[in-house]
């Protein structure tokens, strides 16, 4: 290290105890004493909580009194407090990028137990930072402008609520939904726990509001196919699938459906999960939004063979809304931020054959039963089994595809309450004996435990035990013609056989089937379970690591409607705040070409995924557009003549870190 290179360097080193979090494992005093011996270090201190106000003031004071011009803070992860200490430096008049953090908590004291080794490691890391900070340069934060428009992907309750919230703030929102209608899973539910208000009654007004809102562009039957750009300026391409109906002309009179050459519905109705049938031309459900029919090209004779009477066309001859020639189209939009609310799928219980789903007709999923108990469902609200009987005994099995190492490890969070609700509704509809087979009853939420108590007192049987199998094998005359649940009832202490007319599987919630592709397209991450990863599990549960992209609802993990709405509102608030601020501050970690050093070899040009590097023909040099550069440093590593640098991650800085951690090797 030469003093000539970077002026008179005066380094202050600050070792945080983090209460006992660090100090219990790392000998912070020894680290501070050691740091004091390193070249360039003027002051080395340890302090109980560096991030506290007095801790920050300590740094500010040293900057002012001791002319400290480089700051090394050994504390927690930079993701937590880098901005804190940069702020402290800035307040004392020092360029914030003269601060370097050393992670001796997450990467040291919290993962090691041996005090000596942890202390040695802390010293090594501190030394590396001291050597690194030597080369730091003053930098400016970059600002990028924010397009005020917001894209919301997914039209379930999360997307609907987020879109409405943003739209109400006066910003333009694009709401893109894959299906022919918005509403998502919530539209399929009958009642909502714990208040038992009807899902449709509370959802459909919001759906209509979306349709009617002047600030919302609603694109159903559409999918995002590509995303480019970054915070403030995302370029998104949306594919609009042909529904063979001109949305602007269809008024939802549904006469075409009556007129269809199929006199009877013949195809599985997706909305009712195949419990009823629909025609090739159909509307997903009566309150579908937009209220526009759609033609299923797989089922429609005209679209399949071109040889149909096309009686639907006749029915719509005046308006001419039916258009068999419709093709998919692509729209490109510019938005400043994106809210992803792509929802979930339910666990396919065929994966647990012991429960006989798909084998025994009277084994249902909770979602199917939602349709069964719904007054506008396939049975007009009558709970009858597939063989047409009113069940006298119904068993609801919890944790099907949840809390199970063989399927999904996580608790799906809503199944307990859903099951309590369905138990109540089934009992109300049929008077049947209802058995809930549970592992734990999880009723955490406002009014939830109270609802559990209500259902308990309605005489629903709570059998604590995970059903081992559902079988139709009768061991006793009383079991003939029934399904039998075999279970250890750990409450009574018996292994029991309980004959049931209907079995309901409370299926767990899983990431959407294409969650991985969506995650990649938007450049966000997934947690281990495959749900989208939030920036911070406590403090930033809607932002992602990608600035300007937020997640809401069940794409982030199982949650109930109130939590979904809260998260959607939060995501919307973040998007609104971003748009209202008008700009976003970026880390100055961009790469730049030192023009006189560049040989114009063009090696770097194709490496940038953001097209930030161009080759300037006039100068025969590469040039990096700082606005487009995201600061990954890939071109820096690749530049064969070392002519590209990266702010905050200069070669010298990293080399000195390497040297620092290995000084005694």
């Amino acid at each position: 290290m030469s003093e000539k290179k970077n002026g008179q360097v005066r380094i202050g080193v600050y070792i945080c105890h983090c209460g006992a979090n660090i100090a219990d494992t790392v000998d912070v005093k020894a680290v501070a004493e050691y740091a004091a011996t390193l070249p360039g270090v003027v002051i080395a201190r340890d302090y109980k909580y560096m991030c506290s106000d007095p801790g920050q003031e300590l740094i500010q004071q040293d900057i002012e009194e001791h002319q400290i011009n480089r700051v090394v803070v050994a504390a927690c992860s930079p993701s937590l407090h880098e901005h804190t200490f940069r702020g402290a430096a800035e307040r004392a008049g020092l360029n914030p990028f003269f601060v370097q953090m050393v992670n001796i908590r997450e990467h040291d004291s919290w993962v090691h137990t041996e005090r000596e080794a942890a202390t040695v490691k802390a010293k090594d890391l501190v030394r590396a930072a001291v050597q690194r900070v030597y080369f730091h340069k003053p930098l400016e934060k970059r600002r990028v402008p924010i397009h005020p428009e917001v894209l919301v992907v997914g039209g379930g309750i999360a997307g609907i609520h987020a879109a409405l919230t943003v739209a109400n703030s006066g910003k333009k929102v694009y709401l893109v939904e894959r299906e022919a209608t918005i509403g998502g899973h919530m539209a399929q539910y009958d009642k909502t726990f714990p208040t038992l208000d009807c899902a449709a009654c509370i959802l459909t007004p919001k759906m209509s509001a979306v349709k009617a809102h002047p600030n919302i562009v609603l694109w159903t039957y559409s999918e995002v196919v590509s995303v480019d750009g970054s915070v403030g300026d995302y370029k998104v391409v949306v594919k609009r699938k042909p529904r063979y109906i001109r949305e602007d002309l269809c008024v939802g009179c549904l006469q075409c459906i009556d007129a269809c050459v199929f006199k009877e519905p013949k195809f599985d109705d997706e909305f009712n999960l195949g419990l009823s049938k629909r025609k090739p031309i159909y509307i997903p459900f009566p309150q579908a939004t937009p209220k526009v029919v759609v033609i299923d090209p797989e089922a429609c004779i005209q679209l399949r063979t071109g040889k149909c009477k096309r009686s639907c066309l006749e029915a719509c001859v005046e308006r001419g809304a039916i258009d068999f020639e419709q093709k998919e189209t692509y729209e490109e939009i510019h938005v400043g931020s994106i809210i992803i609310a792509t929802g979930f799928k339910t666990f396919d219980p065929r994966r647990l054959p012991q429960y006989g789903y798909g084998r025994y007709p009277n084994v249902y999923t909770t979602l199917e039963v939602e349709r069964l108990v719904n007054a506008s469902g396939p049975t007009s609200g009558q709970v009858i089994t597939r063989d047409g009987r009113v069940p006298k005994s119904v068993g609801i099995i919890l944790c099907v595809g949840s809390r199970d190492e063989n399927t999904n490890r996580w608790c799906s969070r809503v199944c307990c309450m859903t099951s309590l609700k369905l138990a109540h509704l089934i009992k109300e509809h049929t008077g049947a004996e209802v058995y809930i087979f549970y592992i734990d009853m999880r009723a955490a939420g406002k009014g939830y435990e109270e609802f559990y108590q209500r259902v308990l007192n309605e005489g629903v049987h709570f059998v604590r035990g995970r059903v081992a199998e559902i079988t139709d094998w009768a061991l006793d005359p009383s079991e003939e013609g029934k399904l039998v649940a075999r279970v250890e009832d750990t409450n009574t202490g018996f292994v029991r056989r309980i004959p049931l007319d209907m079995v309901v599987l409370a299926v767990g919630l899983e990431p959407q089937f294409d969650a991985h592709e969506v995650q990649r397209m938007f450049g966000i991450s997934c947690s281990l379970d495959g749900f989208f990863l939030e920036k911070h599990p406590k403090l930033a549960p809607a932002p992602t690591y990608t600035d300007g992209i937020f997640i809401a609802g069940l794409c982030h993990g199982p949650k109930d409607i109130p939590d979904t709405v809260m998260q959607a509102g939060y995501a919307a608030a973040e998007a609104i705040a971003l748009a209202d601020t008008g700009y976003f501050e970026l880390e100055p970690n961009t790469a730049y070409v030192v023009e006189e050093e560049c040989s114009g070899c063009k090696s770097c040009v194709p490496l940038c995924p953001y097209q930030a590097i161009t080759f300037k023909e006039d100068k025969q040099k590469a040039f990096i557009n700082e606005v487009l550069c995201k600061g990954c440093g890939t071109c820096v590593a690749a530049c064969p003549s070392g002519s590209i640098r990266q702010n905050l991650f200069e070669d010298e800085e990293i080399f000195s870190e390497i040297e620092g951690v290995l000084a005694y090797a």
Binding site: G523, P609, A665
Partner: protein, 174 residues
């Protein structure tokens, strides 16, 4: 630097402990290592992590420099293919890694001393597992510690220098 070496124990003889330099990308592996910390997943203290924004920033020079300065192993952690925060920086890392391993093999450094792992932000456990595994692997290979080798080479010259000096002194007296 002339201070008393604090890592003596790590460096010398029977007490040799593998020393591994890790380059972790900010978005996935570094975050995963933070998660490992938050979840208190213990692992071997033999690793020194250097944060880069993307594994694509890892210049092969850094790897060689780490070996040259005494690392017994180098670990690079990046996002899973397809999950790169910078779209495809990790693919560049992967390609360099393959070529670099060939060079290292030709220069007598066991390929196991350089490891590239894809560790997503949520895979705290994998950080701990990878580090422990690698420490064991490198332990089995034994010390590399090129820094010591370089010191020996320097000593070779130093002894000559001394000899030359002595020779001249003798000549001067004659």
């Amino acid at each position: 630097m002339e201070e008393k070496p604090v890592t003596d124990k790590l460096v010398t003889g029977a007490d040799w402990e593998p020393l591994i330099v890790a380059f972790f990308c900010n978005w996935c592996t570094y975050t995963a290592a933070d998660l490992a910390g938050v979840s208190r997943m213990g692992y071997d203290p033999n690793v020194r992590v250097i944060r880069v924004m993307c594994s694509g920033r890892v210049d092969p020079q850094f790897v060689l420099d780490a070996f040259a300065h005494g690392a017994d192993g180098v670990l690079i952690g990046g996002c899973h293919p397809g999950d790169c925060h910078y779209v495809e920086g990790n693919y560049k890392t992967l390609r360099r890694y393959h070529l670099l391993r060939r060079v290292l093999a030709d220069l007598g450094i066991e390929p196991e001393r350089l490891r590239l792992e894809w560790i997503a932000a949520s895979e705290g456990e994998k950080v701990a597992k990878t580090i422990n595994e690698m420490v064991e692997q490198v332990r089995a290979l034994g010390p590399l510690r090129l820094s010591r080798r370089f010191r020996e080479w320097d000593a070779e010259l130093a002894s000559l220098e001394a000899e030359v000096k002595r020779g001249e002194e003798v000549a001067a007296h004659v």
